[in-house]
């Protein structure tokens, strides 16, 4: 009887009414379902740019699902690889759709990983205490490129086999222990069967396992450090933005929304541009076709095509590319400044913009000139011109955007007296104009990258015209039209910017009456 009168000790499930509620409560108290496993995220992180890595993971999951279905039919043997791929295209229900989605999500994964990297670079997420998160992310990026390299060979088409052979050939130009190890890893005995099997194993088992381990490590560190704060600091944000929201359901629902939109976009692109299988590889056909890597390796391929890097210079070019990758990996230990603000990191932001512009220009140039050796002077003109343009653009953008912004902040903040940003909270109006200025500078950089590309196109077309190429006139016209569009866009942007700050009008007036501020 005493037991019946004692207070309940079983936990919250006993207090609930109804069989289902009590059953849920029983499981909840034993399994801790309602226990908050992941740390809540701040409201300001409800922004697609904070979740580019998550979208890349969604792409990885889609590839896992589509790849697993394709594995049911694909045989990794040179005599059957192409036939089984063709079988998937022609006989398996929705086979073409499956292959197309697998390829396009791979492209999306690489592009999202690159955007994630560059966004992290510009807002300097690599700084203390996230140095190792950055290094882990870079390792994940390399694994993602490895997916692309190993998966490209599997259909055993003339394009994929020739390009992979060029890639393997380039490994031989690396320093000796590295070259031998990599060649052994991907080629083995040197036979086609061994090579295909190794690529298949790497693509299907090794790389996914490595990526999953790295993903867990990175997620653990994300859980420890949380999402990075805005570069302007959280003090300037309105309280609503600083509020913490739980991962489930708030952030999870947002991620579902993003993932569904991403999935629908990939599906629509796959319907508009369905994949077509290239002809099967044969030694006879290989000699007639120009080998070209997939788009994400085109910028490296274009560097290697510069005539100075032909033959003996190949190891120098590969060394340069390796140094670029090493600098990116070691960035947290090179860029050790405390500030994360884009305004105060002119050098690194300009270098990053140059890197993005050069990669874009090289990739497009490589796509337009397959198998053509690039003369040294053309390379210097295009690459040097792009770097110069982006640098000039960056200087102008900093002067116009942040200069004008500074004046606006001072006007709105403390009545003409320069406010100390570290100590004085910035007004809501200044925050919104700062956000607008960041967007404007982003669009400005985009226009500059486009401008660099079209200028490179013009130079390339002029060189081709002088060499007597028939299609160069059309290319020149298209590049000129693109450049005109960029110029008009830049003028419009500057005009819009001037509506806010009036800085250009003031400066023009200053030119008219003498330079007086």
């Amino acid at each position: 009887m005493a037991d019946m009168e004692s207070p309940k000790e079983e936990g919250p499930e006993e207090e609930r009414s109804g069989v289902v509620q009590r059953a849920l409560g029983w499981f909840d108290s034993r399994l801790g379902l309602s226990y908050q496993l992941l740390r809540p995220a701040p409201q300001y992180s409800i922004n697609p740019f904070y979740w580019l890595g998550a979208l890349a993971t969604v792409a990885f999951v889609i590839q896992g699902v589509t790849g697993s279905i394709m594995m049911l039919y694909y045989v990794p043997d040179p005599t059957q690889a192409y036939a089984t791929t063709q079988y998937i295209f022609q006989n398996v229900s929705y086979g073409t759709f499956l292959e197309t989605i697998h390829l396009y999500t791979a492209y999306a994964m690489i592009m999202l990983a690159f955007m994630h990297l560059m966004r992290g670079y510009f807002v300097s997420v690599h700084k203390k205490p996230r140095e190792l998160m950055w290094v882990t992310g870079m390792a994940m990026g390399f694994v993602t490129l490895g997916f692309g390299f190993t998966g490209y060979l599997l259909p055993w088409t003339i394009v994929s086999k020739s390009a992979t052979d060029v890639g393997i050939g380039m490994m031989g130009a690396l320093p000796q222990p590295v070259a031998s190890f990599l060649t052994f890893l991907v080629v083995g005995s040197g036979s086609d069967a061994g090579e295909l099997l190794r690529f298949y194993d790497l693509h299907v088992f090794v790389l996914p396992a490595v990526l999953l381990v790295l993903l867990v490590v990175k997620m653990y560190m994300l859980e420890a450090h949380g999402v990075s704060q805005p570069t302007t600091g959280v003090e300037s944000l309105p309280p609503k933005k600083k509020k913490l929201i739980p991962i489930f359901p708030d952030v999870s629902v947002y991620l579902v929304e993003l993932a569904a939109l991403f999935g629908s976009a990939v599906i629509v692109v796959s319907v508009v541009f369905p994949l077509a299988l290239a002809p099967e590889y044969s030694a006879a056909l290989a000699g007639q076709s120009v080998s070209q890597p997939d788009w994400y390796f085109l910028w490296i391929y274009q560097i290697l095509k510069i005539s100075a890097f032909e033959e003996a210079g190949l190891s120098v070019a590969l060394g340069a590319v390796t140094v670029i990758f090493l600098l990116l990996v070691l960035l947290p230990f090179i860029d050790r400044g405390k500030t994360r603000s884009i305004r105060d990191r002119k050098l690194y932001v300009t270098l990053g913009a140059i890197f993005v512009a050069e990669v874009a220009v090289l990739a497009v140039w490589g796509y337009l000139t397959p198998g053509v050796v690039i003369p040294d002077e053309a390379a210097v003109l295009v690459l040097g011109g792009t770097a110069l343009l982006v640098t000039l653009g960056s200087v102008v953008a900093y002067k116009v955007v942040f200069g004008g912004l500074g004046r606006m902040s001072r006007r709105g903040g403390s009545g003409g007296v320069r406010a100390d940003r570290a100590e004085t909270p910035v007004s809501a109006r200044a925050v919104s104009s700062r956000s607008a200025a960041l967007w404007t500078s982003g669009i400005f950089v985009g226009l500059l990258v486009g401008g660099a590309y079209f200028i490179a196109g013009c130079i390339n077309a002029v060189v081709a015209l002088r060499l007597g190429s028939s299609g160069a006139l059309l290319s020149l016209g298209a590049s000129g039209a693109g450049l005109s569009f960029i110029v008009v866009g830049s003028m419009f942007l500057l005009y819009r910017l001037d509506l806010g700050s009036g800085s250009i009008r003031r400066r023009i007036r200053a030119f008219e009456v003498g330079w007086k501020e």
Partner: protein, 102 residues
């Protein structure tokens, strides 16, 4: 500030009942598109495109339902533009799917 039409800061104030109606409608569209995509002939490039487009309709519906749920539970109001854009996108996908079927 909310005006007489229930618009606040450019966003429409949405009650629980209104959100339920929107979600029900989206669920209905999603269910119909699931029925259509599983009823098409699985072999053939045209039917593959139809399947893919109706799958995309489902995904857009899921995204819109997530948006409504998030907006209503968090702020109690939502912008009209994403919903209108989503509806236009769904209509385009459905018409493209019907066109490809024929």
């Amino acid at each position: 500030m909310t005006d007489e039409s229930g618009v606040s800061d450019g966003k429409t104030v949405v009650t629980e009942r209104m959100s339920l109606r929107i979600v029900s409608l989206l669920l209905l569209v999603a269910a119909v598109s699931v029925f259509v995509l599983w009823s098409v002939n699985p072999v053939g490039s045209g039917s593959e495109s139809t399947f893919a487009l109706f799958l995309a309709v489902d995904m857009v519906c899921v995204a819109m339902i997530s948006y409504v749920e998030r907006a209503v539970s968090h702020e109690g109001r939502m912008a009209r533009a994403p919903l209108i854009a989503g509806c236009v996108f769904i209509l385009l996908l459905v018409f493209a799917g019907i066109y490809l079927t024929n």
